[in-house]
């Protein structure tokens, strides 16, 4: 994944807001990158562009050798459906819809038959440890469980890139570490993870931390002591 001089300009009334002012970043397959920055630093805008939810005003964004910055709306939707999994701060599950159906949602748009959908959704939920909660609606699940359903939904289409936007923002610290554990585990299995957060200790779970400021890349570091969720959890229980 490679961005070159990525720029995004929003128009708010008469005022032009330059949310990104030229960001060049390369993310290798299998990497785990945390994006940090204060609000207004452009990190969310960057995330939306990387997630193919939006198109850059200038600059290029190549994904697996393909210039996705120039795709049409429908083509972008396809890329999202096939290559990207999203995890949001607010979980963004469909209310009054059970876990299984929530996880099936991405497959619905890929024309996969209902049997295969059920199988893959159940498998994804199994993977995040919710194999016994398939028919629970979001209201019947705790915050951590809801976020895990959202992760299962992000995984079900077997993406190459997992995008997490403040995934621990609504969770307590222990559950946050659990969620980071899932991400680390997935990353070890080869999934590229891009995590947006403003909590330094959450960012330290990544292999690489990039920081944004005023629409520009401020720093790109490797955490000196990477946190491993597995160990943290063991310490807490001990």
């Amino acid at each position: 994944m490679e961005t070159r001089n990525l720029e995004k300009v929003y128009r708010m009334g008469d005022v032009e807001v330059r949310a990104l002012r030229g960001v060049s970043l390369t993310i290798a397959a299998g990497d785990f990158v945390a994006v940090m920055g204060a609000s207004g630093s452009g990190k969310s805008t960057f995330m939306n562009l990387i997630g193919c939810l939006d198109r850059p005003t200038r600059g290029s964004y190549r994904m697996a050798g393909r210039d996705v910055g120039k795709l049409s709306r429908d083509q972008l939707a396809r890329v999202r459906g096939e290559q990207i999994g999203f995890v949001f701060q607010g979980f963004n599950l469909l209310p009054r819809t059970n876990a299984l159906e929530n996880v099936e949602l991405p497959l619905l748009y890929q024309g996969i038959g209902s049997k295969e959908r059920h199988r893959r959704a159940a498998e994804a939920l199994e993977r995040v440890g919710l194999g016994d909660r398939l028919d629970h609606t979001p209201a019947q699940l705790s915050g951590g469980q809801q976020q895990r359903v959202a992760i299962a939904r992000a995984l079900v289409n077997r993406p190459t890139l997992l995008l997490a936007d403040e995934p621990t923002g609504n969770l307590d610290s222990r559950t946050s570490v659990e969620v980071m554990g899932i991400f680390q585990e997935l990353n070890e299995q080869g999934l590229t993870v891009l995590l947006v957060t403003h909590e330094p200790d959450i960012a330290e779970h990544a292999r690489r931390v990039v920081t944004f400021k005023d629409g520009l890349l401020l720093s790109d570091l490797t955490p000196p002591r990477r946190r491993l969720a597995r160990e943290e959890l063991q310490e807490q229980t001990a």
Partner: protein, 409 residues
Amino acid sequence: MNAIASIRTALRALRKNKLRSLLAMLGIVIAVAAVMATVSIGQGAQAKVAQQMESLGANLLMVLPGSIAMHGVATGSGATQNLTRDDAAAIERELTSSVAAVAPINRTGAQIVYGDQNWFTQVQGTTAAYLQVRNWPLAQGEAFGREEDASAAKVCLLGKTVVDKLFVPGTPVIGEQIRVKHVPCKVVGILAAKGQSFGGQDQDDVIVMPWSTVVRRLIGSQADTVGQMMISARSSDQVSDAEREITALLRQRHRLSEQAEPDFQIRNLAEMQDAAKQSTETIATLLEAVAAISLIVGGIGIANVMLVSVTERTREIGIRMAVGGRGRDILFQFLTEAVLLASVGGMIGLTLGIGVSKWMAARGGWPTLLSPPVMLGTMLAAGFAGVVAGFYPALRASRLDPIEALRFE
């Protein structure tokens, strides 16, 4: 997303908000029910009119004496006695290509007596052609023929009502002697029941006798004048030909000059039918207009609910887009919901409409006709209303920006 999956998704969405879905449907339900009820009742009425027309006779023409002016004073129609049996015979003889049968008719009222029962009824003096012209079969017995007419035979055919009034049910009727005024008559046949006429008269309250028996024996006249003639054309296409030819022949026989007003008049049943048809068509047009308006109102109801639904579910739309839903998937989803609302509403309305029209039919004695094309048409119209009503809200949903939709609270 395939069709089955989207219908399932749409059904799930509609079920989640049952009351709102029900209210959205209500307009269409009422529209379709009203259309079904009014159309089937209207068609029933139309069929009833047609049936009554048909019972008058097939391809019928009526020739009546006209008005004449004497010294500048015009008489009313039917005041003259200028149609004769010879006229009738001439029409039958000379216009064989267009005329199938001619029945001269003279009427009189008579008290009839059988045993200790008596009844006052109308007596039609006519020929055997009458039954053919009026398309009136016999329930029992046999009709009289030319000989009975020639000899003024004392025979009669009884209408159903007359039989009911005079005879005890189950006792033999054919061959019995009844008295018509002072003339004893043998019953040779019973007419099949015909029911009410267009004007509401009981057509079965009648006795049919040979023309000469009625005129010579009951009325006591030696004249050859005929009260009216009922003529049937060979086919419905030939009714107007027959009318023209009869006019020409009668003018010639009555020695009328080119300019003279005819001294007879011809009434064409087709004209009456046309008039009746025209009025029912006007009503049908009116009903269609009402139907169209109510479907539009129903559609607006659905559009309104769908618009609210799209706004309320903005976040859901954002989620669907984020996980790979394309604009057209979203469009199709909301359109499916609207069409489902409309068609389910249409189905409920259809059932309701059929129920109402059956109830009305039972209550008002209408024949209710439920025509499958009308049902299908109404359902299609309801579905179409759903598509039209759902399109704009669905389009709005499909054009949402995923980022903003996801941020929507």
